[in-house]
Point group: C3
Chain length 108, copies 3
Amino acid sequence: MKLIIAVVQDQDSDRTIKALNDAGHRVTRVASTGGFFSVGNTTLLSGVEDSQVRSVIDILKTTCERRTRLIPAGPNIVESAAMMGAFVEVEVGGATVFVLDVEHFEQV
Amino acid sequence: MKLIIAVVQDQDSDRTIKALNDAGHRVTRVASTGGFFSVGNTTLLSGVEDSQVRSVIDILKTTCERRTRLIPAGPNIVESAAMMGAFVEVEVGGATVFVLDVEHFEQV
Amino acid sequence: MKLIIAVVQDQDSDRTIKALNDAGHRVTRVASTGGFFSVGNTTLLSGVEDSQVRSVIDILKTTCERRTRLIPAGPNIVESAAMMGAFVEVEVGGATVFVLDVEHFEQV
Ligand SMILES: Nc1ncnc2c1ncn2[C@@H]1O[C@@H]2COP(=O)(O)O[C@H]3[C@@H](O)[C@H](n4cnc5c(N)ncnc54)O[C@@H]3COP(=O)(O)O[C@H]2[C@H]1O
Ligand SMILES: Nc1ncnc2c1ncn2[C@@H]1O[C@@H]2COP(=O)(O)O[C@H]3[C@@H](O)[C@H](n4cnc5c(N)ncnc54)O[C@@H]3COP(=O)(O)O[C@H]2[C@H]1O
Ligand SMILES: Nc1ncnc2c1ncn2[C@@H]1O[C@@H]2COP(=O)(O)O[C@H]3[C@@H](O)[C@H](n4cnc5c(N)ncnc54)O[C@@H]3COP(=O)(O)O[C@H]2[C@H]1O
């Protein structure tokens, strides 16, 4: 058994959960926030058999899009915006995926 | 040290946390949502010594009840409800428990 | 790759995230609640290269303070407060840190 922890963008979360459920995978969603942009995102927990890990990641690949965000340039993201008027493009991922080994799984 | 991640139903969460704390276990709770029913539930994180894993799971067994939910039958749970008027019983678990190995634990 | 799960006090979370980001670490924050005090706190998830674990923990040491809380003494924390008027000091940690091994990491 593996526990997949995937951070996805809010816009992709409903579609992703539905696709995972339709494929028979179990999923729990947790509201979260990105550290850098302080923008809300979604952390998914999905415990699956070892043989299903690839299937889950393939689904994430199709349901989670990479997007480009314009953020103010400069050492301090917030203050520099007005002054420099310069923005940089930062790519925000489709999904950031961690696969952890589960030593023991049980439903009581 | 092991990290126990347990998804429990909201109705059982207070009683479960109190029982874990009374037994000397440390617990952090995170609000979460089931992927399939989109109903709120609770994800507990509890780091315990290896020898305490069984004690935590035994407590979950006594404080978390399995319940039956009636959900609309049909391929698309939401739309089929009115048409078919048919409901199926789905059992929702007491607790879904993942035990992960902790490589390093520290309180700073 | 390791996944660091750190429970920190709300008062320290913004400063901690900024310091981690400034050092080039990626962080996701999740709102959580302490089981014992039922007071809100913050659970941070940070996936880092093995060689960066120490750096993250050192940052937590400088940004997370241990604080003393006065809680009502007695077997039932809430009811005993008025009667006994007795309070005990409980130290609440800077950060509670779990380091887990990541079997596979991917950004899709
Ligand atoms: N310290 C830093 N220095 C420079 N650039 C930085 C940075 N931290 C983040 N970024 C950039 O900003 C984007 C948004 O990061 P945020 O922390 O808001 O939102 C992140 C975070 O919530 C989560 N995440 C990504 N990698 C993570 C990791 N290793 N551990 C924990 N969470 C991670 O996934 C979200 C999207 O990440 P993604 O990599 O696609 O996109 C990131 C990345 O391109
Ligand atoms: N392997 C796993 N990984 C991550 N989280 C897990 C998990 N197994 C269970 N959970 C979490 O525990 C809740 C209860 O699961 P249970 O299996 O008892 O009860 C489930 C199960 O009987 C059924 N179910 C869930 N997903 C299904 C699917 N893809 N196909 C068919 N039935 C499903 O619906 C009930 C409610 O599911 P819901 O998703 O709303 O809520 C789930 C989910 O939040
Ligand atoms: N092994 C672990 N697994 C999961 N989460 C953990 C953990 N150890 C600590 N935490 C998290 O960190 C918070 C602060 O813990 P700390 O040990 O500094 O400070 C704790 C500790 O001094 C004390 N405490 C907690 N549980 C206790 C228990 N069962 N018996 C006696 N004292 C307890 O009360 C303070 C506040 O606890 P609270 O639960 O509200 O909040 C906890 C909890 O959310």
